[in-house]
Amino acid sequence: MIELKSVDKIYSHGEHEEIGVLKNISFSVKENEFSLLTGPSGSGKSTILSIVGGLSKPTNGEVIIDNKSIAKLPDKFSALLRREKIGFIFQKFNLINNLSAIDNITIPLIPTKISKSEIEQRAEKIMTELSIFNKRDVLVEKLSGGEQQRVAIARALVNEPKIILADEPTANLDKKLSLDFIQIIKQLKDAGKTILLASHDPLFTDLDCINNIIKIHLGEIQ
Protein backbone atom coordinates (compact mmCIF):
# COMPACT_ATOMS: atom_id res chain seq x y z
CA MET A 1 0.00 0.00 0.00
CA ILE A 2 2.87 2.36 0.89
CA GLU A 3 6.34 1.88 -0.51
CA LEU A 4 9.42 4.12 -0.39
CA LYS A 5 12.48 3.27 -2.47
CA SER A 6 15.79 5.04 -1.80
CA VAL A 7 14.17 8.31 -0.91
CA ASP A 8 16.43 11.34 -0.30
CA LYS A 9 15.23 14.74 0.81
CA ILE A 10 17.59 17.66 0.55
CA TYR A 11 16.54 21.20 1.39
CA SER A 12 18.60 23.76 -0.43
CA HIS A 13 18.71 27.34 0.71
CA GLY A 14 20.60 29.26 -1.92
CA GLU A 15 23.38 27.71 -3.97
CA HIS A 16 25.82 26.51 -1.35
CA GLU A 17 23.68 25.65 1.62
CA GLU A 18 22.17 22.22 1.31
CA ILE A 19 20.61 20.36 4.20
CA GLY A 20 20.23 16.65 3.77
CA VAL A 21 17.24 15.61 5.86
CA LEU A 22 16.52 12.12 4.57
CA LYS A 23 19.00 9.71 3.07
CA ASN A 24 18.26 6.47 1.27
CA ILE A 25 14.99 5.70 3.00
CA SER A 26 13.32 2.49 1.87
CA PHE A 27 10.46 0.67 3.59
CA SER A 28 6.99 -0.55 2.83
CA VAL A 29 3.71 -0.84 4.66
CA LYS A 30 1.34 -3.46 3.31
CA GLU A 31 -2.40 -3.14 3.23
CA ASN A 32 -4.00 -3.19 6.69
CA GLU A 33 -0.61 -3.06 8.36
CA PHE A 34 0.27 -0.67 11.18
CA SER A 35 3.83 0.70 11.00
CA LEU A 36 5.44 2.89 13.61
CA LEU A 37 8.09 5.49 12.75
CA THR A 38 10.27 6.27 15.72
CA GLY A 39 13.38 8.30 16.30
CA PRO A 40 14.62 11.33 18.17
CA SER A 41 13.40 14.83 17.50
CA GLY A 42 14.67 16.19 14.21
CA SER A 43 15.42 12.75 12.77
CA GLY A 44 13.02 13.19 9.84
CA LYS A 45 9.77 11.47 10.84
CA SER A 46 7.47 14.35 9.86
CA THR A 47 9.36 14.78 6.62
CA ILE A 48 8.71 11.14 5.71
CA LEU A 49 4.99 11.55 6.44
CA SER A 50 4.70 14.67 4.31
CA ILE A 51 6.42 12.87 1.44
CA VAL A 52 4.11 9.88 1.79
CA GLY A 53 1.13 12.24 1.81
CA GLY A 54 2.39 14.13 -1.22
CA LEU A 55 2.69 17.38 0.75
CA SER A 56 6.30 17.62 -0.31
CA LYS A 57 8.33 15.94 -3.01
CA PRO A 58 11.36 13.71 -2.47
CA THR A 59 14.62 14.95 -3.97
CA ASN A 60 15.46 11.45 -5.21
CA GLY A 61 13.76 8.07 -5.08
CA GLU A 62 10.37 6.48 -5.60
CA VAL A 63 7.19 6.75 -3.57
CA ILE A 64 4.41 4.33 -4.41
CA ILE A 65 0.97 4.68 -2.89
CA ASP A 66 -1.68 2.11 -3.75
CA ASN A 67 0.30 1.01 -6.84
CA LYS A 68 0.77 4.56 -8.07
CA SER A 69 4.05 6.42 -8.22
CA ILE A 70 3.62 9.83 -6.68
CA ALA A 71 7.17 11.15 -6.44
CA LYS A 72 6.73 13.42 -9.42
CA LEU A 73 2.98 13.82 -9.34
CA PRO A 74 1.81 17.39 -10.00
CA ASP A 75 0.23 19.15 -7.05
CA LYS A 76 -3.25 18.98 -8.49
CA PHE A 77 -3.15 15.16 -8.48
CA SER A 78 -1.44 14.71 -5.16
CA ALA A 79 -4.27 16.77 -3.65
CA LEU A 80 -6.74 14.39 -5.25
CA LEU A 81 -4.78 11.42 -3.92
CA ARG A 82 -5.00 12.83 -0.39
CA ARG A 83 -8.66 13.52 -0.79
CA GLU A 84 -9.39 9.98 -1.96
CA LYS A 85 -6.95 7.78 -0.10
CA ILE A 86 -5.32 9.51 2.82
CA GLY A 87 -6.41 10.82 6.19
CA PHE A 88 -3.93 13.03 8.04
CA ILE A 89 -3.80 13.39 11.82
CA PHE A 90 -1.40 16.11 12.96
CA GLN A 91 0.37 16.69 16.22
CA LYS A 92 -1.07 20.19 16.55
CA PHE A 93 -4.51 18.98 15.39
CA ASN A 94 -4.53 21.80 12.81
CA LEU A 95 -8.20 22.60 13.22
CA ILE A 96 -9.61 25.85 11.88
CA ASN A 97 -10.60 28.09 14.75
CA ASN A 98 -13.95 29.83 14.93
CA LEU A 99 -15.58 27.00 13.03
CA SER A 100 -17.76 24.40 14.72
CA ALA A 101 -16.69 20.78 15.11
CA ILE A 102 -18.92 19.58 12.29
CA ASP A 103 -17.72 22.39 9.99
CA ASN A 104 -14.13 21.33 10.60
CA ILE A 105 -14.86 17.67 10.01
CA THR A 106 -16.60 18.24 6.68
CA ILE A 107 -13.83 20.40 5.18
CA PRO A 108 -12.12 17.61 3.14
CA LEU A 109 -15.34 16.88 1.26
CA ILE A 110 -16.35 20.46 0.44
CA PRO A 111 -14.67 20.50 -2.99
CA THR A 112 -16.21 17.12 -3.94
CA LYS A 113 -19.50 16.43 -5.69
CA ILE A 114 -20.98 14.75 -2.63
CA SER A 115 -24.07 16.56 -1.40
CA LYS A 116 -24.00 18.65 1.73
CA SER A 117 -26.54 16.49 3.53
CA GLU A 118 -24.65 13.30 2.79
CA ILE A 119 -21.40 14.85 3.97
CA GLU A 120 -23.04 15.88 7.21
CA GLN A 121 -24.55 12.43 7.69
CA ARG A 122 -21.14 10.86 7.29
CA ALA A 123 -19.58 13.34 9.68
CA GLU A 124 -22.30 12.76 12.27
CA LYS A 125 -21.84 9.01 12.06
CA ILE A 126 -18.12 9.32 12.70
CA MET A 127 -18.73 11.80 15.52
CA THR A 128 -21.06 9.31 17.14
CA GLU A 129 -18.47 6.56 16.87
CA LEU A 130 -15.88 8.83 18.46
CA SER A 131 -18.47 9.97 21.06
CA ILE A 132 -18.23 13.65 20.22
CA PHE A 133 -21.66 13.99 18.63
CA ASN A 134 -22.81 16.18 21.52
CA LYS A 135 -20.10 18.68 20.52
CA ARG A 136 -21.40 18.92 16.95
CA ASP A 137 -21.96 22.68 16.87
CA VAL A 138 -19.40 23.80 19.42
CA LEU A 139 -16.56 25.98 18.15
CA VAL A 140 -13.40 23.88 18.12
CA GLU A 141 -11.35 26.26 20.25
CA LYS A 142 -13.88 25.74 23.04
CA LEU A 143 -13.23 21.98 23.09
CA SER A 144 -10.82 20.16 25.38
CA GLY A 145 -7.55 18.76 23.98
CA GLY A 146 -8.92 15.23 23.73
CA GLU A 147 -12.08 16.41 22.03
CA GLN A 148 -10.09 18.52 19.61
CA GLN A 149 -8.05 15.50 18.69
CA ARG A 150 -11.14 13.42 18.09
CA VAL A 151 -12.44 16.16 15.81
CA ALA A 152 -9.11 15.98 13.98
CA ILE A 153 -9.45 12.19 13.72
CA ALA A 154 -13.02 12.51 12.46
CA ARG A 155 -11.81 14.96 9.81
CA ALA A 156 -9.14 12.43 8.76
CA LEU A 157 -11.79 9.72 8.43
CA VAL A 158 -14.61 11.60 6.72
CA ASN A 159 -13.28 10.89 3.23
CA GLU A 160 -13.15 7.16 4.09
CA PRO A 161 -9.42 6.83 3.37
CA LYS A 162 -7.52 3.57 3.04
CA ILE A 163 -4.44 5.10 4.60
CA ILE A 164 -4.08 6.96 7.90
CA LEU A 165 -0.98 9.07 8.45
CA ALA A 166 -0.51 10.31 12.01
CA ASP A 167 2.26 12.61 13.22
CA GLU A 168 2.91 12.56 16.99
CA PRO A 169 -0.80 12.09 17.68
CA THR A 170 -0.35 11.78 21.45
CA ALA A 171 2.19 14.56 22.00
CA ASN A 172 -0.48 16.95 23.26
CA LEU A 173 -2.49 14.39 25.25
CA ASP A 174 -2.21 13.11 28.80
CA LYS A 175 -1.75 9.43 29.61
CA LYS A 176 -5.44 8.57 29.76
CA LEU A 177 -6.30 10.36 26.51
CA SER A 178 -3.29 8.72 24.85
CA LEU A 179 -4.61 5.31 25.83
CA ASP A 180 -8.02 6.29 24.45
CA PHE A 181 -6.32 7.25 21.21
CA ILE A 182 -4.63 3.85 21.04
CA GLN A 183 -8.04 2.23 21.33
CA ILE A 184 -9.28 4.30 18.43
CA ILE A 185 -6.27 3.45 16.28
CA LYS A 186 -6.75 -0.24 17.05
CA GLN A 187 -10.34 0.00 15.88
CA LEU A 188 -9.16 1.69 12.70
CA LYS A 189 -6.77 -1.13 12.07
CA ASP A 190 -9.56 -3.63 12.68
CA ALA A 191 -11.62 -1.68 10.16
CA GLY A 192 -8.94 -2.43 7.56
CA LYS A 193 -7.03 0.82 7.41
CA THR A 194 -3.33 0.98 6.62
CA ILE A 195 -1.60 3.06 9.26
CA LEU A 196 1.72 4.90 9.34
CA LEU A 197 2.26 6.64 12.65
CA ALA A 198 5.24 8.74 13.71
CA SER A 199 5.91 9.04 17.43
CA HIS A 200 8.59 8.73 20.06
CA ASP A 201 5.98 8.02 22.71
CA PRO A 202 7.03 4.71 24.40
CA LEU A 203 3.34 3.83 24.73
CA PHE A 204 3.36 2.68 21.13
CA THR A 205 6.51 0.55 21.08
CA ASP A 206 5.10 -2.58 22.65
CA LEU A 207 1.62 -2.53 21.17
CA ASP A 208 0.76 -5.93 19.75
CA CYS A 209 -1.18 -4.46 16.85
CA ILE A 210 1.97 -2.90 15.41
CA ASN A 211 3.37 -4.89 12.52
CA ASN A 212 6.74 -3.20 12.20
CA ILE A 213 8.79 -0.45 13.71
CA ILE A 214 10.92 1.79 11.51
CA LYS A 215 13.69 3.47 13.46
CA ILE A 216 15.05 6.71 12.02
CA HIS A 217 18.22 8.40 13.13
CA LEU A 218 19.60 11.56 11.51
CA GLY A 219 17.56 10.89 8.40
CA GLU A 220 18.56 7.30 7.93
CA ILE A 221 16.93 3.97 8.79
CA GLN A 222 18.80 2.12 11.50
Binding site: S46, T47, L49, S50, G53, L55, S56, K57, D75, K76, A79, L80, R82, R83, E84, I86, F88, F90, N94, L95, I96, N97, N98, L99, D103, I107, P108, I110, P111, K116, I119, R155, A156, N159, D167
Partner: protein, 392 residues
Amino acid sequence: MNFKLIDFTLKSLKRRLTKKLSVIFIFSLIVFLLVSVFSISSSIKKELEISVNALPEIIVQKMSGGRQTVIPVDRAYEIATIPGVQNAYDRVWGYYYFVNDNVNFTVVGLDFDLEAYKQKYSDIINLYAEATDTIDAPFMIVGSGVYKMLEDNFYKNFYNFRTVTGEMLETKIVGSFTDVSAMETNDVILMPVNYVRELFDISENYATDIVVRIPNPEEIEIIKQKLNSMFPDSRIVSRLDIEASYQNIFDYKSGLFLALLIVAFVAFFILVYDNASGLSIEDRREIGILKAVGWQVENILQIKFIEGSLISLFSFFLGTGTALFYVYILQAPILRNLFTGASNLKPTFNLIPVINFEILILIFILTVPVYILATVIPSWKSSVIDADEVMR
Protein backbone atom coordinates in the same frame (compact mmCIF):
# COMPACT_ATOMS: atom_id res chain seq x y z
CA MET B 1 -19.10 26.78 -9.02
CA ASN B 2 -19.78 24.59 -6.03
CA PHE B 3 -22.46 25.74 -3.61
CA LYS B 4 -20.61 24.20 -0.66
CA LEU B 5 -17.62 26.40 -1.43
CA ILE B 6 -19.81 29.51 -1.22
CA ASP B 7 -21.24 28.24 2.04
CA PHE B 8 -17.76 27.66 3.41
CA THR B 9 -16.61 31.11 2.29
CA LEU B 10 -19.53 32.74 4.08
CA LYS B 11 -18.69 30.84 7.25
CA SER B 12 -15.06 31.79 7.04
CA LEU B 13 -15.97 35.44 6.36
CA LYS B 14 -18.27 35.40 9.35
CA ARG B 15 -15.53 34.32 11.68
CA ARG B 16 -13.16 37.03 10.46
CA LEU B 17 -15.90 39.62 10.49
CA THR B 18 -14.21 42.23 12.67
CA LYS B 19 -11.08 42.14 10.53
CA LYS B 20 -13.09 42.37 7.34
CA LEU B 21 -15.38 45.10 8.65
CA SER B 22 -12.54 47.59 8.64
CA VAL B 23 -11.77 46.69 5.04
CA ILE B 24 -15.44 47.04 4.08
CA PHE B 25 -15.58 50.37 5.90
CA ILE B 26 -12.54 51.83 4.17
CA PHE B 27 -13.51 50.39 0.79
CA SER B 28 -17.04 51.79 0.91
CA LEU B 29 -15.80 55.11 2.26
CA ILE B 30 -13.51 55.46 -0.74
CA VAL B 31 -16.27 54.51 -3.18
CA PHE B 32 -18.55 56.90 -1.32
CA LEU B 33 -16.10 59.77 -1.78
CA LEU B 34 -15.52 59.02 -5.44
CA VAL B 35 -19.19 58.65 -6.29
CA SER B 36 -20.16 61.73 -4.26
CA VAL B 37 -17.55 63.89 -5.90
CA PHE B 38 -18.49 62.81 -9.39
CA SER B 39 -22.21 63.09 -8.71
CA ILE B 40 -21.95 66.60 -7.31
CA SER B 41 -19.76 67.63 -10.19
CA SER B 42 -22.00 66.17 -12.90
CA SER B 43 -25.03 67.62 -11.16
CA ILE B 44 -23.54 71.11 -11.11
CA LYS B 45 -22.35 70.72 -14.70
CA LYS B 46 -25.90 69.88 -15.67
CA GLU B 47 -27.12 72.87 -13.68
CA LEU B 48 -24.74 75.17 -15.57
CA GLU B 49 -25.71 73.66 -18.89
CA ILE B 50 -29.36 74.36 -18.25
CA SER B 51 -28.59 77.88 -17.06
CA VAL B 52 -26.43 78.63 -20.04
CA ASN B 53 -29.02 77.30 -22.45
CA ALA B 54 -31.59 79.59 -20.93
CA LEU B 55 -29.34 82.58 -21.43
CA PRO B 56 -30.10 85.08 -24.20
CA GLU B 57 -27.64 85.20 -27.07
CA ILE B 58 -26.57 88.77 -26.31
CA ILE B 59 -27.05 91.17 -23.41
CA VAL B 60 -26.41 94.91 -23.88
CA GLN B 61 -25.39 96.90 -20.81
CA LYS B 62 -24.75 100.63 -20.68
CA MET B 63 -21.58 101.58 -18.89
CA SER B 64 -20.64 104.74 -17.08
CA GLY B 65 -17.23 105.17 -15.58
CA GLY B 66 -16.60 101.46 -16.05
CA ARG B 67 -19.68 100.44 -14.08
CA GLN B 68 -23.02 99.28 -15.30
CA THR B 69 -25.79 101.83 -15.35
CA VAL B 70 -29.37 102.07 -16.66
CA ILE B 71 -29.89 101.96 -20.40
CA PRO B 72 -32.45 103.95 -22.45
CA VAL B 73 -35.27 101.62 -23.56
CA ASP B 74 -35.56 103.07 -27.09
CA ARG B 75 -32.26 101.37 -27.90
CA ALA B 76 -34.21 98.11 -27.83
CA TYR B 77 -36.33 99.27 -30.79
CA GLU B 78 -33.19 100.31 -32.61
CA ILE B 79 -31.52 96.95 -32.01
CA ALA B 80 -34.62 95.03 -33.10
CA THR B 81 -34.26 96.47 -36.61
CA ILE B 82 -30.77 94.96 -37.12
CA PRO B 83 -30.96 92.14 -39.68
CA GLY B 84 -30.59 88.74 -37.98
CA VAL B 85 -32.07 89.94 -34.68
CA GLN B 86 -35.34 88.23 -33.94
CA ASN B 87 -36.25 90.23 -30.91
CA ALA B 88 -34.77 92.76 -28.50
CA TYR B 89 -36.40 93.74 -25.24
CA ASP B 90 -35.49 95.61 -22.12
CA ARG B 91 -35.28 94.04 -18.71
CA VAL B 92 -35.75 95.70 -15.39
CA TRP B 93 -34.11 93.83 -12.54
CA GLY B 94 -31.66 94.20 -9.71
CA TYR B 95 -30.33 92.77 -6.48
CA TYR B 96 -32.16 93.32 -3.24
CA TYR B 97 -30.15 92.82 -0.09
CA PHE B 98 -32.11 90.81 2.48
CA VAL B 99 -30.61 91.95 5.78
CA ASN B 100 -32.04 89.19 7.98
CA ASP B 101 -30.15 86.43 6.22
CA ASN B 102 -27.33 88.46 4.73
CA VAL B 103 -28.13 87.37 1.15
CA ASN B 104 -28.97 89.00 -2.15
CA PHE B 105 -32.23 88.26 -3.93
CA THR B 106 -32.54 88.85 -7.65
CA VAL B 107 -35.69 90.88 -8.27
CA VAL B 108 -36.91 90.58 -11.85
CA GLY B 109 -39.61 92.76 -13.38
CA LEU B 110 -42.28 91.08 -15.49
CA ASP B 111 -44.45 93.17 -17.79
CA PHE B 112 -47.39 92.56 -20.08
CA ASP B 113 -44.96 91.25 -22.66
CA LEU B 114 -44.91 87.85 -20.99
CA GLU B 115 -43.85 86.12 -24.19
CA ALA B 116 -40.37 87.44 -23.65
CA TYR B 117 -40.05 85.48 -20.42
CA LYS B 118 -41.80 82.40 -21.51
CA GLN B 119 -38.66 80.50 -22.22
CA LYS B 120 -37.35 80.97 -18.73
CA TYR B 121 -40.32 81.03 -16.40
CA SER B 122 -43.03 79.31 -18.41
CA ASP B 123 -44.51 77.44 -15.46
CA ILE B 124 -45.43 80.57 -13.53
CA ILE B 125 -46.95 82.62 -16.37
CA ASN B 126 -50.45 81.53 -15.41
CA LEU B 127 -49.97 82.30 -11.76
CA TYR B 128 -48.78 85.75 -12.74
CA ALA B 129 -51.60 86.43 -15.18
CA GLU B 130 -54.17 85.45 -12.58
CA ALA B 131 -52.60 87.71 -9.95
CA THR B 132 -52.50 90.74 -12.30
CA ASP B 133 -56.21 90.31 -12.94
CA THR B 134 -57.22 90.11 -9.29
CA ILE B 135 -54.69 92.10 -7.27
CA ASP B 136 -54.23 95.82 -7.52
CA ALA B 137 -51.24 96.09 -5.23
CA PRO B 138 -47.59 94.97 -5.29
CA PHE B 139 -47.25 91.20 -5.44
CA MET B 140 -44.50 88.71 -6.15
CA ILE B 141 -43.84 85.14 -7.09
CA VAL B 142 -40.69 83.85 -5.43
CA GLY B 143 -38.17 81.09 -6.03
CA SER B 144 -38.33 78.24 -3.53
CA GLY B 145 -35.11 79.34 -1.83
CA VAL B 146 -36.48 82.82 -1.28
CA TYR B 147 -39.78 81.41 -0.11
CA LYS B 148 -38.08 79.36 2.53
CA MET B 149 -35.96 82.22 3.79
CA LEU B 150 -38.91 84.56 4.05
CA GLU B 151 -40.93 81.90 5.80
CA ASP B 152 -38.11 81.29 8.29
CA ASN B 153 -38.26 85.01 9.06
CA PHE B 154 -42.04 84.82 9.54
CA TYR B 155 -42.94 86.51 6.26
CA LYS B 156 -45.66 84.11 5.21
CA ASN B 157 -48.02 86.23 3.18
CA PHE B 158 -46.18 89.43 2.44
CA TYR B 159 -42.89 91.20 2.77
CA ASN B 160 -42.08 94.88 3.22
CA PHE B 161 -39.41 95.93 0.76
CA ARG B 162 -37.53 99.10 1.51
CA THR B 163 -37.20 101.06 -1.74
CA VAL B 164 -34.07 103.00 -2.62
CA THR B 165 -35.94 106.18 -1.72
CA GLY B 166 -36.58 104.82 1.75
CA GLU B 167 -40.27 104.01 1.46
CA MET B 168 -41.90 100.73 2.41
CA LEU B 169 -43.31 98.60 -0.37
CA GLU B 170 -45.69 96.05 1.10
CA THR B 171 -45.65 93.14 -1.34
CA LYS B 172 -47.97 90.15 -1.28
CA ILE B 173 -46.46 86.68 -1.82
CA VAL B 174 -48.78 84.96 -4.29
CA GLY B 175 -46.79 81.84 -4.97
CA SER B 176 -43.43 80.13 -5.31
CA PHE B 177 -41.75 78.09 -7.97
CA THR B 178 -38.94 75.66 -8.49
CA ASP B 179 -37.18 75.11 -11.72
CA VAL B 180 -35.07 72.24 -13.03
CA SER B 181 -32.14 74.54 -12.83
CA ALA B 182 -32.38 75.51 -9.21
CA MET B 183 -29.06 77.34 -9.13
CA GLU B 184 -30.44 79.87 -11.57
CA THR B 185 -33.87 80.58 -10.16
CA ASN B 186 -33.74 79.79 -6.48
CA ASP B 187 -32.93 83.33 -5.45
CA VAL B 188 -35.31 84.96 -7.92
CA ILE B 189 -38.28 87.18 -7.08
CA LEU B 190 -40.68 87.96 -9.91
CA MET B 191 -42.70 91.17 -9.63
CA PRO B 192 -44.71 93.32 -12.02
CA VAL B 193 -42.22 95.59 -13.71
CA ASN B 194 -43.72 98.86 -12.45
CA TYR B 195 -43.12 97.85 -8.83
CA VAL B 196 -39.57 96.85 -9.60
CA ARG B 197 -39.03 100.32 -11.08
CA GLU B 198 -40.40 101.74 -7.86
CA LEU B 199 -38.19 99.51 -5.74
CA PHE B 200 -34.98 100.42 -7.55
CA ASP B 201 -36.09 103.90 -8.63
CA ILE B 202 -35.68 103.27 -12.34
CA SER B 203 -37.77 105.63 -14.50
CA GLU B 204 -40.08 104.60 -17.36
CA ASN B 205 -37.59 105.34 -20.13
CA TYR B 206 -34.79 103.30 -18.71
CA ALA B 207 -34.08 99.62 -18.08
CA THR B 208 -31.37 97.53 -16.46
CA ASP B 209 -30.22 95.94 -19.68
CA ILE B 210 -31.40 94.86 -23.11
CA VAL B 211 -31.65 91.26 -24.20
CA VAL B 212 -31.11 90.38 -27.85
CA ARG B 213 -32.38 87.11 -29.33
CA ILE B 214 -30.62 85.82 -32.40
CA PRO B 215 -31.88 82.56 -33.90
CA ASN B 216 -28.78 81.78 -35.94
CA PRO B 217 -25.74 81.18 -33.74
CA GLU B 218 -23.39 81.99 -36.63
CA GLU B 219 -24.58 85.59 -36.60
CA ILE B 220 -24.00 86.24 -32.89
CA GLU B 221 -20.40 87.37 -33.30
CA ILE B 222 -21.16 89.72 -36.23
CA ILE B 223 -24.10 91.31 -34.46
CA LYS B 224 -22.03 91.67 -31.32
CA GLN B 225 -19.45 93.68 -33.29
CA LYS B 226 -22.15 95.78 -34.89
CA LEU B 227 -23.66 96.60 -31.49
CA ASN B 228 -20.21 97.50 -30.23
CA SER B 229 -19.79 100.17 -32.87
CA MET B 230 -23.41 101.36 -32.59
CA PHE B 231 -23.15 101.92 -28.82
CA PRO B 232 -19.60 102.77 -27.83
CA ASP B 233 -20.81 103.44 -24.27
CA SER B 234 -22.04 99.87 -23.85
CA ARG B 235 -20.74 96.47 -22.98
CA ILE B 236 -21.99 93.68 -25.22
CA VAL B 237 -21.94 90.27 -23.53
CA SER B 238 -22.65 87.15 -25.57
CA ARG B 239 -23.73 83.77 -24.26
CA LEU B 240 -20.33 82.35 -25.11
CA ASP B 241 -18.63 84.88 -22.82
CA ILE B 242 -20.82 83.85 -19.91
CA GLU B 243 -20.36 80.19 -20.66
CA ALA B 244 -16.60 80.65 -20.56
CA SER B 245 -16.69 82.40 -17.21
CA TYR B 246 -18.92 79.72 -15.71
CA GLN B 247 -16.57 77.10 -17.03
CA ASN B 248 -13.63 78.86 -15.42
CA ILE B 249 -15.19 78.81 -12.00
CA PHE B 250 -16.12 75.20 -12.49
CA ASP B 251 -12.65 74.16 -13.60
CA TYR B 252 -11.10 75.91 -10.63
CA LYS B 253 -13.38 74.09 -8.22
CA SER B 254 -12.70 70.81 -9.97
CA GLY B 255 -9.06 71.23 -9.03
CA LEU B 256 -10.00 70.95 -5.36
CA PHE B 257 -11.97 67.86 -6.14
CA LEU B 258 -9.14 66.35 -8.07
CA ALA B 259 -7.00 66.62 -4.96
CA LEU B 260 -9.72 64.84 -3.00
CA LEU B 261 -9.92 62.13 -5.65
CA ILE B 262 -6.20 61.55 -5.59
CA VAL B 263 -6.39 61.13 -1.81
CA ALA B 264 -9.21 58.60 -2.24
CA PHE B 265 -7.29 56.60 -4.82
CA VAL B 266 -4.11 56.60 -2.78
CA ALA B 267 -6.13 55.34 0.19
CA PHE B 268 -7.60 52.61 -1.97
CA PHE B 269 -4.24 51.48 -3.24
CA ILE B 270 -2.86 51.38 0.29
CA LEU B 271 -5.79 49.15 1.20
CA VAL B 272 -5.16 46.92 -1.79
CA TYR B 273 -1.43 46.87 -1.19
CA ASP B 274 -1.94 45.90 2.43
CA ASN B 275 -4.19 43.10 1.29
CA ALA B 276 -1.81 41.96 -1.43
CA SER B 277 1.42 42.20 0.51
CA GLY B 278 1.26 38.82 2.03
CA LEU B 279 -1.04 36.85 4.21
CA SER B 280 -0.98 36.57 7.95
CA ILE B 281 0.53 33.46 9.52
CA GLU B 282 -3.00 32.42 10.39
CA ASP B 283 -4.12 32.70 6.74
CA ARG B 284 -1.13 30.72 5.52
CA ARG B 285 -1.68 28.00 8.09
CA GLU B 286 -5.26 27.73 6.96
CA ILE B 287 -4.28 27.35 3.33
CA GLY B 288 -1.80 24.68 4.42
CA ILE B 289 -4.53 22.79 6.32
CA LEU B 290 -6.89 22.94 3.36
CA LYS B 291 -4.20 21.56 1.06
CA ALA B 292 -3.26 18.85 3.54
CA VAL B 293 -6.83 17.58 3.72
CA GLY B 294 -7.04 17.32 -0.06
CA TRP B 295 -8.05 20.71 -1.41
CA GLN B 296 -6.59 21.62 -4.76
CA VAL B 297 -5.08 25.03 -5.46
CA GLU B 298 -8.06 25.89 -7.64
CA ASN B 299 -10.46 25.21 -4.76
CA ILE B 300 -8.53 27.61 -2.57
CA LEU B 301 -8.53 30.21 -5.34
CA GLN B 302 -12.27 29.74 -5.77
CA ILE B 303 -13.04 30.54 -2.14
CA LYS B 304 -10.69 33.52 -2.24
CA PHE B 305 -12.39 34.72 -5.40
CA ILE B 306 -15.81 34.39 -3.81
CA GLU B 307 -14.54 36.18 -0.71
CA GLY B 308 -12.99 39.04 -2.69
CA SER B 309 -16.10 39.40 -4.85
CA LEU B 310 -18.47 39.44 -1.89
CA ILE B 311 -16.45 42.03 0.00
CA SER B 312 -15.79 44.28 -2.96
CA LEU B 313 -19.29 44.12 -4.45
CA PHE B 314 -20.87 44.71 -1.08
CA SER B 315 -18.57 47.65 -0.35
CA PHE B 316 -19.06 49.07 -3.83
CA PHE B 317 -22.83 49.04 -3.61
CA LEU B 318 -22.81 50.26 -0.03
CA GLY B 319 -20.52 53.16 -0.97
CA THR B 320 -22.47 54.02 -4.11
CA GLY B 321 -25.83 53.80 -2.37
CA THR B 322 -24.84 55.99 0.54
CA ALA B 323 -23.16 58.47 -1.82
CA LEU B 324 -26.29 58.87 -3.95
CA PHE B 325 -28.37 59.22 -0.79
CA TYR B 326 -25.93 61.75 0.62
CA VAL B 327 -25.78 63.84 -2.54
CA TYR B 328 -29.36 63.79 -3.77
CA ILE B 329 -31.42 63.25 -0.65
CA LEU B 330 -29.27 65.01 1.94
CA GLN B 331 -28.01 67.49 -0.68
CA ALA B 332 -24.33 66.84 0.07
CA PRO B 333 -23.74 68.86 3.23
CA ILE B 334 -20.10 70.07 3.59
CA LEU B 335 -18.85 68.68 0.26
CA ARG B 336 -21.05 70.88 -1.90
CA ASN B 337 -19.49 73.97 -0.38
CA LEU B 338 -16.23 73.01 -2.00
CA PHE B 339 -17.92 73.41 -5.36
CA THR B 340 -20.36 76.23 -4.90
CA GLY B 341 -18.23 78.15 -2.45
CA ALA B 342 -19.12 78.45 1.20
CA SER B 343 -20.54 81.93 0.64
CA ASN B 344 -24.20 82.32 1.42
CA LEU B 345 -24.63 85.15 -1.03
CA LYS B 346 -26.94 82.92 -2.99
CA PRO B 347 -29.72 80.96 -1.35
CA THR B 348 -29.23 77.21 -1.47
CA PHE B 349 -30.30 75.23 -4.46
CA ASN B 350 -31.08 71.58 -5.02
CA LEU B 351 -28.66 69.24 -6.74
CA ILE B 352 -30.46 67.69 -9.69
CA PRO B 353 -30.15 63.91 -9.78
CA VAL B 354 -27.88 63.06 -12.68
CA ILE B 355 -26.63 59.49 -12.53
CA ASN B 356 -23.54 59.20 -14.65
CA PHE B 357 -23.30 55.50 -15.44
CA GLU B 358 -20.02 55.84 -17.29
CA ILE B 359 -18.38 57.21 -14.17
CA LEU B 360 -19.98 54.54 -11.98
CA ILE B 361 -18.71 51.82 -14.30
CA LEU B 362 -15.27 53.40 -14.30
CA ILE B 363 -15.16 53.51 -10.50
CA PHE B 364 -16.39 49.90 -10.45
CA ILE B 365 -13.63 48.75 -12.79
CA LEU B 366 -10.96 50.63 -10.88
CA THR B 367 -11.95 49.16 -7.53
CA VAL B 368 -13.80 45.82 -7.61
CA PRO B 369 -11.57 43.72 -9.90
CA VAL B 370 -8.45 45.28 -8.39
CA TYR B 371 -9.56 44.21 -4.94
CA ILE B 372 -10.50 40.70 -6.09
CA LEU B 373 -7.07 40.27 -7.67
CA ALA B 374 -5.41 41.55 -4.52
CA THR B 375 -7.29 38.87 -2.58
CA VAL B 376 -6.67 36.00 -4.95
CA ILE B 377 -3.04 36.56 -5.96
CA PRO B 378 -1.39 36.31 -2.51
CA SER B 379 -3.40 33.17 -1.73
CA TRP B 380 -2.36 31.72 -5.02
CA LYS B 381 1.29 32.48 -4.26
CA SER B 382 1.08 30.82 -0.90
CA SER B 383 -0.94 27.83 -2.06
CA VAL B 384 1.39 26.76 -4.86
CA ILE B 385 4.33 26.25 -2.52
CA ASP B 386 4.69 23.06 -0.50
CA ALA B 387 2.10 22.61 2.17
CA ASP B 388 4.34 20.68 4.56
CA GLU B 389 4.51 23.70 6.88
CA VAL B 390 1.42 22.32 8.63
CA MET B 391 3.59 19.44 9.79
CA ARG B 392 5.70 21.74 11.92
